[in-house]
């Protein structure tokens, strides 16, 4: 019962914040995206998290590398990675800015 409640709370807060912040999650490189309003000021906590950027960068490189590696090896491991990626992607798409991708 507790797990269910926790999950529902998480979902609610996540979707709620998704509605509140949906304009933030647009790629500035691509045409047709909302223009920037005021500079978004992050508080200390969030700034601290952007410190993790170097970790994220490395992770991103590693994951990309992993995916290219797996192409050459066991098809079963490819399937596993794809399954995990699919589940992750499905959950991640609940976040803001991905609605358009889902539809197209």
């Amino acid at each position: 019962m507790f797990i269910k409640k926790a999950f529902l709370t998480f979902l609610l807060v996540f979707l709620g914040s998704a509605l509140l912040f949906k304009d933030i999650h647009a790629n500035p490189l691509l045409r047709g995206k909302p223009k920037p309003g005021k500079t978004i000021r992050l508080n200390i906590y969030q700034k601290g998290l952007s410190q993790l950027a170097s970790v994220q960068r490395k992770l991103n490189k590693e994951l990309s590398g992993l995916l290219t590696d797996l192409k050459k090896k066991n098809p079963l491991s490819v399937f596993t990675v794809l399954l995990i990626a699919f589940i992750y992607g499905a959950l991640h798409s609940l976040g803001p800015g991905h609605g358009k991708m889902l539809i197209s």
């Binding site: 914040s17 500035p28 978004i40 490189k61």
Partner: protein
């Protein structure tokens, strides 16, 4: 096995707070594109001419652009393909001053336009380069230019390359020094590197 009411309560509070804290914050600390940045500080005999910005993208964004724009799939961008990339996957940065935050002698320099945009494929990754014209005459007095390149929305993470992130062109007539450190501005929404270049005209040796 008996657990005290207090323990269960504490655990619940901890889990709930973690869940709540983690969800909206992930929006901010979660860039979707990663750029490796290198700068060429371009001088002329008179002083600073401008800054060439060189970006290499992560594999995922690179693949997206390759699929959408390298129509003949020859691992090269033709002139038409480059023009489309510039129009559809770059020119929007005008509204963001091309992510370039520049100060000349402590005064803000707004980047309104750029020149010589080029898109290419480097070792399987997408690369952009463009030139920011920025004329500053070199005199006997030291002048300072500060450059920081970052996406204020942090959708894109831009980091200086680890090897030779800053280069200097045509500096025969110029004396310069430079430092790289984290940006000091309290207003800066993300943590980014700032390059400070001090330069002046080289003293002529008579004789």
């Amino acid at each position: 096995m008996q657990r005290s009411w207090l323990n269960i309560h504490k655990i619940r509070i901890l889990v709930f707070s973690l869940l709540i804290l983690l969800s909206p914050v992930s929006l901010f600390a979660h860039p979707h594109v990663f750029i490796e940045n290198k700068l060429d500080i371009v001088f002329s005999d008179d002083g600073l001419k401008g800054i060439r910005v060189n970006w290499v993208f992560d594999k995922i964004f690179s693949n997206m652009i390759f699929v959408d724009y390298d129509k003949n799939n020859n691992q090269k961008f033709e002139k038409e393909e480059k023009a489309l990339i510039k129009e559809e996957a770059f020119s929007n940065l005008k509204d963001y001053n091309y992510f370039s935050h520049i100060k000349i002698n402590k005064k803000n320099f707004e980047v309104k336009y750029i020149k010589d945009f080029n898109a290419s494929q480097k070792e399987g990754l997408l690369a952009y380069s463009f030139f920011i014209p920025c004329h500053v005459t070199a005199t006997q007095d030291k002048k300072e230019i500060r450059i920081s390149i970052y996406d204020q929305t942090y959708y894109i993470d831009i980091a200086l390359a680890e090897e030779k992130p800053v280069n200097f062109d045509n500096h025969n007539n110029i004396e310069y020094t430079y430092t790289v450190k984290e940006i000091e501005e309290e207003d800066s929404p993300v943590i980014a590197d700032e390059i400070t270049v001090l330069f002046k005209k080289k003293e002529k040796v008579s004789g």
